[in-house]
């Protein structure tokens, strides 16, 4: 058992190396090098690069039950060294063939500088190999030292790095609260300072170690000793605290971060709508952006003070009209696809989404909705003489809408209609035989789903004061669908979690923007492999996947008999 598997270590090492090489040549390492995790010490690009050997060092030993120091450390180091080889070869190639950049545009002098620590291809390449070998060794070491030490340490490093990556967010929040001197001490120009990192590492590691050693037990004892009244009180207190936090959030976050949260909120709103169509009723709709566009354009036409505005009516009056229009559009677009199922439904709805976008850019409708120039001069909403102007103001409009949508969704889920949707999703034929009105049930799903999206679109239009057709592309439909999948089909908290991960995170790390789709792809594949039911699955869905496993086991058992 405790044997050294050289081939496995080499294979996994090379695989990690190819990934690191890939991230380098597509320009990700260089782009991310702009952001420091620890000021002047360690950049996000380096984190990306050096995660590969450390993780692979960890993985080659994991699950192999190598307890002996020797074999474990050797495999880790070996994997680390081999993780460096693909990049090493790239460096050599740049020496032999300096014109490489013509083919691989991202292999710039800057990138080579990062890869070689600025010390030339040969020396730097060897240095890189050595560093990666050491990192592989470090990854492997975590298995050799006792868990009670290595676990807190790994978590400590992880959290410290995460805080470093998100230092900009923290800085934004803390800026008004702390004096300048303290801030300068904690944060560098582009990340946390080395001192902060060390302090964090020590605090977190010791904290976790203490928690594991005794804190958790004490806490659990105290929890177990609580009376029912205390439990209820505690729950009420935390609920109240949560609500309070949501209410004061814009003041804590400041303008930029609130804008990010606003965006997340609009996606949550759309996600909740699509969740009704896809998650509850099981109708795969890929043209969902259409209703977002319809809501936005309706708001533009009704309220704009420019040439195209016809109504000049107030935001609040226009809002229900936008929602109603989207609902009707949902029903109209739903009608022709009633007979389609699964993939065919997806293809046709995809087409509808495109039709709406093409119509928006077309010359045909240009006199009404402005063609490629869009609609301008959409006024900001007013309420009791107060103009909703800042992202912080819109935050409350969006928050209220999200709460409304969450409330409606949860009530629908538990209603008779929710059950009809569920049976539709499970089996259309059985549902029909049970006397469920398929047409009505499906159209209600399309209509209500479209309503949420129309609401999001209307708010979106007022927030930006202008709308352009290119804002309503297929990518939005894909984003919304992805966030539902990542969060967990049919799960309401899942929609929120999915939007935070897929919309919020990339906004915080703006370097990601260019690699967003890559991130989506990688994340979706990882999810399918590791957590196919989503980050926060609904109870039904969780059970479904378990049942499938059970079934497989049963079939295997039968096969053995």
């Amino acid at each position: 058992m405790a044997q050294l598997d050289v081939r496995d270590a080499i294979r996994k090492g090379l695989l990690a190396g190819v990934i690191a090489l890939g991230l380098s040549v597509i320009g990700m390492v260089e782009a991310f090098d702009q952001r420091d995790v620890i000021t002047d010490v360690f950049s996000l690009g380096q984190l990306l690069l050096f995660a590969a050997p450390a993780v692979v060092g960890f993985l080659v030993v994991k699950g192999r039950d190598i307890r002996a120091y020797g074999p474990a450390l050797i495999s880790g180091a070996l994997a680390g060294v081999f993780a460096a080889i693909p990049i090493f070869l790239l460096l050599m190639l740049t020496l032999i063939y300096p014109g490489l950049r013509a083919q691989l545009v991202n292999v710039s002098p800057t990138l080579i500088g990062i890869l070689t620590f600025g010390s030339g291809q040969i020396v730097g390449g060897l240095l890189l190999t050595a560093v990666m070998g050491v990192l592989g060794l470090v990854g492997a070491t975590t298995h050799v030292i006792p868990d009670r030490i290595s676990d807190p340490l790994v978590l400590g490093v992880g959290w410290t790095l995460l805080i470093g990556v998100l230092s900009e967010v923290l800085l934004n929040i803390l800026r008004p609260l702390l004096p300048r001197g303290v801030l300068r001490f904690l944060f560098g120009t582009k990340g946390i300072t080395l001192v902060t990192a060390v302090i964090l590492l020590v605090l977190i590691t010791v904290g976790i170690a203490w928690w594991r050693a005794q804190g958790r037990e004490r806490y659990q004892k105290r929890i177990a000793a609580r009376s029912a009244v205390q439990v209820a009180n505690a729950r009420r207190t935390s609920l109240g605290a949560g609500l309070l936090l949501l209410l004061v959030l814009p003041f804590i976050l400041g303008t930029y971060l609130t804008e990010v949260v606003d965006n997340v909120g609009l996606y949550v709103l759309m996600g909740l709508g699509l969740n009704i169509v896809v998650g509850f009723a099981g109708l795969l709709d890929l043209g969902y952006v259409a209703f977002f566009a319809i809501g936005a354009y309706m708001m533009g036409i009704l309220t704009s003070q420019g040439d195209l505005g016809v109504g000049g009516i107030s935001f609040w009056l226009a809002l229900p009209i936008c929602v109603a229009t989207s609902t009707i559009a949902g029903i109209i677009l739903g009608t022709p696809v009633l007979r389609m199922r699964g993939d065919y439904l997806a293809i046709v709805t995809l087409g509808f989404g495109e039709i709406i976008r093409v119509l928006a850019t077309s010359d045909l409708l240009k006199p009404v909705i402005g063609g490629a120039q869009g609609i301008l001069q959409i006024p900001k909403p007013e309420i009791f003489g107060f103009t909703i102007l800042q992202p912080q103001h819109f935050y409350y409009v969006i928050l209220a809408s999200v709460f409304l949508a969450l409330f409606i969704s949860s009530r629908l889920r538990d209603s008779r209609l929710g059950r009809q949707w569920m049976s539709l999703r499970e089996d259309e034929d059985v549902a029909e035989a049970m006397g469920i009105h398929l047409v009505k049930t499906k159209l209600l799903a399309f209509g209500i789903g479209a309503a949420f999206s129309g609401l999001a679109g209307a708010i979106f239009a007022a927030r930006l004061s202008s709308i352009f057709p290119h804002s309503f592309n297929l990518l939005i439909s894909i984003n919304v669908l992805s966030l539902i999948i990542v969060g967990g089909m049919g799960s309401l908290p899942g929609v929120v979690v999915g939007a935070l991960v897929l919309v919020g995170l990339p906004e915080l790390l703006r370097e990601f923007a260019e690699y967003r789709l890559l991130l989506y792809g990688a994340l979706l594949i990882a999810m399918m492999l590791r957590k196919p039911d989503g980050l926060w699955p609904s109870p039904v869905r969780r059970r479904e996947l378990k049942a499938e496993e059970q079934e497989k086991l049963m079939m295997q058992a039968e096969g053995l008999e």
Binding site: S423, E426, D429, V430, M434, G435, L438, K546
Partner: protein
């Protein structure tokens, strides 16, 4: 007047003339079985009665009321429940959820609770498996679940499409004895079967269907003794 009256019904699938003038009547409290080989038109008959298919010609009445003025989904509240061929349970929902689904269009909480108790009493096996996911039930248990779910809508007429299909002989016995129990509690049943032997044992009367036409009708006792039925469906020479 009979509860269900099917009169001279012709049903087509495009050009295929699947039912060529079928007349069936089922009186209240009866078990009537419709036997016939593969492709004879048994499923088509049930789908026509439950409104999933429209006949080109002919009428279907329940208690004298013409059913074709209603849509399929309305017929459940008229008292017709169908258990489709191949069982048709919601494979990914639990047993209890499947049963609740069966009562989805009802509002009377107490009545539903009563019916749930009744369903579990009829099928004790389901009671033991309330939280199990329906897809992991055995074939027989799934059939029971589909029948129990149909009963949750409190039907006056229960349509069963080949409930014995693919089941082990012990389970077939159990299913048919439950069919008799359901009938004793007052539900009228139209039973479609290839397993003529079992079907004619529990039924009061029977019809024999061949390529879309009724070729024989009689009491179940007489059909069991009929030479043609014995030869074609009971395997007796």
């Amino acid at each position: 007047m009979a509860l269900l009256e099917v009169t001279d019904v012709h049903t087509y699938y495009g050009n295929i003339h699947a039912l060529k003038g079928i007349s069936i009547s089922v009186a209240e409290g009866e078990i009537v079985s419709l036997i016939g080989g593969n492709g004879a038109g048994k499923t088509t008959t049930l789908r026509t009665i439950s409104g999933l298919l429209r006949p080109q010609h002919g009428s279907v009445t329940l208690n004298g009321e013409d059913l074709h003025q209603y849509k399929a989904h309305q017929l459940v509240s008229k008292g017709i429940a169908m258990v489709p061929e191949g069982r048709g349970v919601f494979a990914r929902l639990s047993v209890a959820e499947n049963l609740e689904m069966g009562a989805y269009h009802r509002n009377d909480k107490d009545g539903i609770a009563d019916d749930l108790k009744r369903a579990y009493a009829l099928f004790p096996r389901l009671d033991e498996r309330k939280t199990q996911v329906a897809g992991t039930l055995s074939g027989g248990e799934q059939q029971m679940l589909a029948m129990a779910r149909a009963m949750m809508s409190r039907p006056t007429l229960l349509l069963l499409d080949e409930p014995s299909m693919g089941l082990a002989p012990v389970l077939v016995e159990l299913i048919f004895s439950t069919i008799a129990d359901i009938n004793k509690e007052g539900t009228t049943i139209l039973l479609v079967e290839q397993n003529a032997h079992m079907a004619l044992q529990v039924a009061h009367r029977g019809y024999v269907l061949q390529t879309g036409e009724i070729v024989l009708q009689d009491s179940a006792k007489n059909l069991q003794r009929n030479a043609m039925v014995q030869k074609a469906y009971l395997g007796i020479d």
